[in-house]
Symmetry: C2
Subunit: 255 residues, 2 copies
């Protein structure tokens, strides 16, 4: 099977992985300590750590100082991306779509909002069809579920469009930003989402409290009115607690 024999630390990882998947170490349980595993697998501590690290990188287990390695628990909520800008639905609820999605799953959402004015970077400028360096208003939201950090959502607007409006204030907008912009004459009629995933950088890892080995799902949404793009929203969601959902019917893309 293997060309030679596999490295010791790979064997150790394979062995522990099998025990986790078989239920010998169920979600939430502790693994034996590194020193214990040294004896069991007759390996040095560094080798044991290499093997454990592999499981951490797969997102199977996580470690923290002073405590034993623990098997990861899954607790995933669904964020329905295809209806998240639904105008009627938002108005009926009086809250934003994410808040409603989370409440429907029996959880308590909250968010911290901060607002700043920045120079558009190259990618934001391109999406908004502006020149790099032009002013954009940035609305950053850190979202919590049951007081645990859950996702970040950063929206970029051309500054000219939203200055001196409630959008430029760091507070909730009851009817939602989309509806408010429509009342200003900027009614968004089309959205393009690009979805990818990255490993968190240190800043993101701290902000969202993600364990090592958990990727971030990144959705970049550009909102268009009849005349052009007016908003870019970048949402970052740790995949150990989020699934992004799109519901599609036939006929909508036949044009």
């Amino acid at each position: 099977m293997a060309t030679r024999s596999e490295p010791l630390y790979v064997q150790l990882a394979t062995s522990l992985r099998a025990k986790i998947q078989s239920g010998e170490y169920p979600p939430g349980s502790k693994l034996p300590s590194e020193r214990k595993l040294m004896e069991v697998y007759d390996a040095s501590r560094n080798t044991v750590r290499l093997g454990l690290q592999r499981l951490v990188a797969e997102g199977l287990v996580f470690a923290s100082q002073g405590r034993a390695y623990m098997v990861h628990r899954q607790d995933v909520l669904v964020y329905n991306s295809s209806r998240s800008e639904d105008h009627n639905r938002r108005l009926a609820a009086g809250v934003d779509a994410w808040v409603q999605d989370i409440q429907e799953q029996g959880r308590t959402p909250s968010q911290e909002i901060s607002v700043s004015i920045e120079n558009a970077g190259p990618s934001i400028a391109q999406s908004l069809e502006m020149e790099p360096g032009e002013l954009v208003l940035v609305r950053r939201r850190l979202r919590f579920v049951d007081d645990q950090p859950w996702s970040t959502e950063d929206s970029y607007y051309p500054h000219e469009l939203v200055k001196n409006t409630p959008i430029a204030e760091p507070a909730d907008i009851p009817e939602g930003v989309i509806a408010y912009m429509a009342s200003l004459g900027h009614k968004q009629t089309r959205y393009v989402d690009d979805v990818t995933a990255v490993m968190p950088n240190p800043k993101q890892a701290a902000e969202l409290a993600v364990e090592a080995g958990i990727p971030l799902l990144v959705r970049t949404r550009v909102g268009y009115t009849e005349t052009g793009p007016v908003r870019v929203t970048i949402t970052a969601m740790p995949t150990d607690r989020n699934v992004l959902r799109y519901e599609l019917g036939t006929g909508e893309n036949d044009g």
Copy 2:
């Protein structure tokens, strides 16, 4: 800023990361060797490796035996998920939507198909509203772009629905599976996509030739006819070469 001073290997990673992002080590270039970095940062080899490993885990650089660490190149293609089941478009092209997407970006797509009959696992069974253990036909596709592995796509069908049809053969279906199933009386009218990301397990990493630190984007699509689900497709795409796109218009989700 930091509570104390940061660990040496973190400082090393931070320093190298900055040099990569500033362009001192551009994409495709080589990093100094581990032994060289030992001198520069006055650290042991293990410590140097810890720091480099951090950059590998972020997907910034990759390593392979006998060669220097190299800064990762990006080469990303777009897969437009919202139109991928578009009936008219598929018929016009005579090829499947993924093939058309790739060709439109000036690249050469190809795929290997294999077919098997399996017992449905719990998650597949639930999606197809079957009992676990009932027979499903599995159509696995390994997709290539310019002869490089690009993504995998595994489709699951209730065996009763497709046995003794071309779908059960490991070959291309010129008009596409969706159109063929429609001609059998199973016209899919609605799709639900769940998107998440995972770190590849060893098997996936080998099959798709992904470097360490690159997450896989995983799309699970369930296709429904008027009477119920008839197909589950799981697509796995390394995020260093794929972006998933959804185009949404207002009105489509107002129900």
